[in-house]
Point group: C2
Amino acid sequence: MTSLAHPQQGQPTPLPARLPNMQALRAFEAAARSGSFTRAAEELYLTQSAVTYQIRNLEDYLGTSLFQRLHRGIRLTNAGRAVYNDISRGLALIGESLTSVSGAPGATRAISRRMEDAPDPPSA
Amino acid sequence: MTSLAHPQQGQPTPLPARLPNMQALRAFEAAARSGSFTRAAEELYLTQSAVTYQIRNLEDYLGTSLFQRLHRGIRLTNAGRAVYNDISRGLALIGESLTSVSGAPGATRAISRRMEDAPDPPSA
DNA sequence: ATTTCTTACGCTCAACGTAAGTATC
DNA sequence: GATACTTACGTTGAGCGTAAGAAAT
C-alpha cells in the first residue's frame, strides 16, 4: 500500500532548490507597493540600507534587476512587475493562514487543543 | 493627483508584522509532505537537527504545535493541516514566479532587456 | 541643501553541523 | 541494535545599523 496519511497532489511543481529570504521578499513587496525604499524601510522598521541590501540580494538571486533607480524613488522593471503580484499573493496567502492559526481571537488555538494531540492508539 | 505608477489593490490584507523564515516554511512543507523530519532533511540537504530547529521556531512563532511526534515519524496536528495547504501554495506561487523570471529558457531575461530600463524622459 | 539610493564596515545572533541524548521497536 | 526525533554547544555568515558617498534637483 502507498501512504495515504500525508498530503498528496498531482505534480506539485517542485520548489526551486533555493528560495530567497523572507526579508528580501518583504522588502521587495513593500518597496514595489510604496514606490520607495525609504517608505518600505519605514514600514518594515528597518533602515534604507537594509532594504537596499535585501533588494540587491533578490536581484542577484534572479540575475535581473527589479527596479529602475530613478533620480527620486524607483520604478518596477518588467521583471519586477512580473513577479510582484505573485509574491504579493503568495505572502498574503501564507500570512493569512498563519494568522488564522496563531493570532486569531482564540478560536483556532482553543479548538486546536481538543483532540489532535492525542497519541495514536498502540498499533498492536 | 494620487499616484498611479505603482500597484494598488483594495484592502490587500496587511501582512503580519513578522513572518517566519523561509527556511522554517520550507522545512515545514517538506516535513508535512514527507511525514518525516529525516526525509525533509535529506530533501533540503540539511541535517535532522536543522529541520527540528526550524520546525520548533515555527511552532514557537505560532504558539501551537504543528506535528505530533510519534514513535516513528510525525503526523500533522489540526493546526498543521490548517496551514499546510496555504503555505504549500504560497511557496509554490512565489517559487514559480521567480523561476519564470530567472530560470526560464532565456525568454524573460532576454525580453527584460528590451526597454524597461530606459530612463524616464526629463520631467521638464 | 535636500532627498534618496548605494557602499563600507563592523557587530550580533540566527542557522547550521557535530555529537550526545532519549525513546521506541 | 536500528531508527528517528531532541538537545547542547561551538562556528560562521547573513542581516542589520551607522556613517559616509553619489547623484539629481
